[in-house]
Amino acid sequence: MGTDPLSKLQLKELVRRVIVAQGNAFIKELLRGTTARIGASKEDFAANLDAAIDAGELTQEKLEAWLAEVEGWGDQHLYLIEPPQIEPAALAAGIAGSVHAGVLNASASLDFPQALELKHIALTDAGLSLLWHQGKAGWNRFKAKDFSLDEGLEHYRFDAYRQRLDRSVVRFEWRYADAYCLVLIHRNPEIDHKAVFADVRLSLAAIGCPDAALQPIPLNQAVKVAASKGKGVHSTRFELDGGYVEMASTLADGGIDAVEPVRVVLQAVDTGQFDRAQGMLHFAAEEHGTSRRIAVQVYGREGRLRIWAQCKREDVLRIVELLWEYNGAP
């Protein structure tokens, strides 16, 4: 894969695949950047995006910039890990001399192979970004195609499933100014996170980083501090070897803070006594500076987040910044 331009036909193919996987809000945002109509359904989006490509308004450059912002960001798992022990200045030479030299600054790939495959490397003065693709097929129950059949004395029932093709994206992001790196993994439950970690490790080693297991950074303190701040915490679970306490709001909007009897229980918990913490936190536009309300499950011990909403790169980075700040607070 090089930096060859895609034909209009290839661009349309890329668009069709993206539409299946992306949230409508983000596709609308892409269409708003053109003079094309927006539409209401996925079919409308596909037709209108095709028209924008034909009119030359939606170019490969625009599409790739948009993909970099939204694909592989949000509605996924995210791990905070220790940065590789390498001088960033040495990375360019490491990549150039590696088997992955060809994907440095490569254009958007249409290819989603069955196994995880490194498709893109971006190297700048500020950071390193690696992008893997994997096509994962799944089956969605599709009741409209169910049918039953009588044969002789027997009655048969056929439950229909429609194949789903997930564009599973895995990212490794290292902003040199941060004391952590991110590994972002598509939500597909069939993706083995250990296998992803092994692939990331191999790729990093191939571009010159020391070959070492990726070390997740625990986020227990982040959950504890978020819980003490109150607002935005929907559920928490504090654990130690001998037991745990768990509290949750069952409201859609309001967190524990909005439920007085639960809130006062949380205040009574000395979180410092617990070794591990996890919780569902909500990040709101007005309070946390995200573009929309985003629910995030934080698994403190694993250093893992499950981001429950589709969002953009800047939202994910903002959430991680906030959690990192909490994690470092006393």
Partner: protein, 364 residues
């Protein structure tokens, strides 16, 4: 719509707004609370009427469609997978169920996290211990109470320079307590209950530039001898104080005389505070220390008592019995008269000072 039902629904809405609890609910949850049917069109019309009147917001709430789970899904989700039972809705060929959700536009209740209590003059203030015990028993959570004692003050109140010394000690103690609270992850703003001469000391702390960094939550002054024109509005506007409730005794015979003997004092505890943001409440049958008679104290700090309600409820809907607005034309007693009586009191102070000093040495 049946008037009795709608009255009942309205009463429930007012209760929730008044107490700052259960502000968010689905149609089904509210129906259950008021013992109505989920599908009651009149109830939904009533709730939608609240939305039209800007009393509530309406938004769709999504519920997991998987039978054993059926939990309300948190906002801020893509709603493709249940975060609780982890069912993938696309895979299961289902979609989340939608139901109307409402949020009343009001503040949530607040908690009493910790309190400083300051007593009055000429008293051992046993009420402070009683208050601490009662509040610990009545709240379902722990709220530390700092019982501040400055000794049995008698003639000391006649000397302004002694006030300043006592106020400085109070401010310093408050600062230490706030620092300790911060370390214990308690809020840095304590609520305060002050009585009589304690209210004057508190006002001096609030006015002192030395303690301008100290901020407080809600303040209750009982039998206050702070001047009615004390600028609570400025303190609230500056964020130094969240709110103030002035509890006035209708039979208080001591407060009206304070301005004639105690420098800087005034009849706040009978006239009320003139500040627009202060809340004045009169208990008609209370004398100067009536607030702290055990049965009265117990009522005040009970769940629906005026003190606990003031300390925990949103104030937008807080209208306790006995609330009043003082007349705007209060003036202090003539200056010459006050100067004369205060000079007399100061003279008494110097005559009795050696005895007071000795008494304090023997019985602080």
């Amino acid at each position: 719509m049946n008037a009795t039902w709608s009255d009942r629904w309205q009463a429930e809405i007012e209760r929730r707004l008044g107490e700052g609890v259960e502000l968010e609910f689905t149609l089904g949850q509210f129906a259950q609370a008021v013992e109505a049917a989920d599908a009651d069109g009149a109830l939904q019309a009533f709730l939608d009427g609240l939305v039209s009147a800007s009393i509530a917001l309406r938004r769709d709430v999504y519920r997991c469609p998987m039978g054993p789970c059926a939990r309300v899904l948190p906002a801020g989700m893509a709603n493709t997978v249940c975060p609780f039972c982890l069912a993938d809705y696309q895979q299961e060929g289902v979609a989340p169920e939608v139901e109307p959700g409402y949020r009343l536009l009001g503040e949530s209740s607040r908690d009493i996290r910790w309190v400083i209590v300051i007593h009055g003059m000429n008293s051992r203030a046993k009420w402070q211990e009683a208050f601490s015990w009662e509040i610990a028993n009545r709240l379902s959570y722990s709220a530390p109470v700092l019982i501040y004692k400055y000794g049995w003050a008698t003639i000391d109140v006649f000397a302004r320079w002694l006030h300043e010394r006592l106020a400085r000690r109070l401010g310093e103690r408050m600062r230490i307590a706030i620092e300790q609270a911060q370390k214990s992850r308690l809020p840095t703003r304590p609520d305060i209950i002050a009585h009589s001469f304690g209210t004057l000391l508190l006002s001096r702390v609030l006015e002192s530039p030395e303690f301008a960094d100290l901020k407080f939550g809600r303040i209750i002054t009982a039998a206050s001898i702070v001047r009615p024109d004390f600028d609570w509005d400025r303190l609230i506007e500056q964020g130094r104080v969240e709110a103030v409730l002035n509890h006035v005794g209708g039979r208080d015979r001591a407060v009206p005389w304070a301005q004639y003997a105690i420098p800087g004092a005034g009849p706040g505890g009978t006239v009320g505070y003139l500040a627009a943001s202060a809340l004045n409440v009169r208990a008609d049958h209370y004398g100067h220390s009536g607030f702290f008679i055990p049965e009265n104290l117990g009522v005040a700090i009970s769940r629906h008592g005026v003190w606990q309600a003031f300390l925990t409820r949103p104030l937008a809907h807080f209208r306790p019995q006995g609330a009043f607005v003082p007349g705007p034309h209060w003036r202090p007693a003539p200056l010459l008269l006050r100067l004369g009586t205060r000079a007399l009191a100061y003279g008494v102070f110097w005559v009795l000072a050696p005895f007071s000093w000795l008494r304090r040495r023997l019985d602080p």
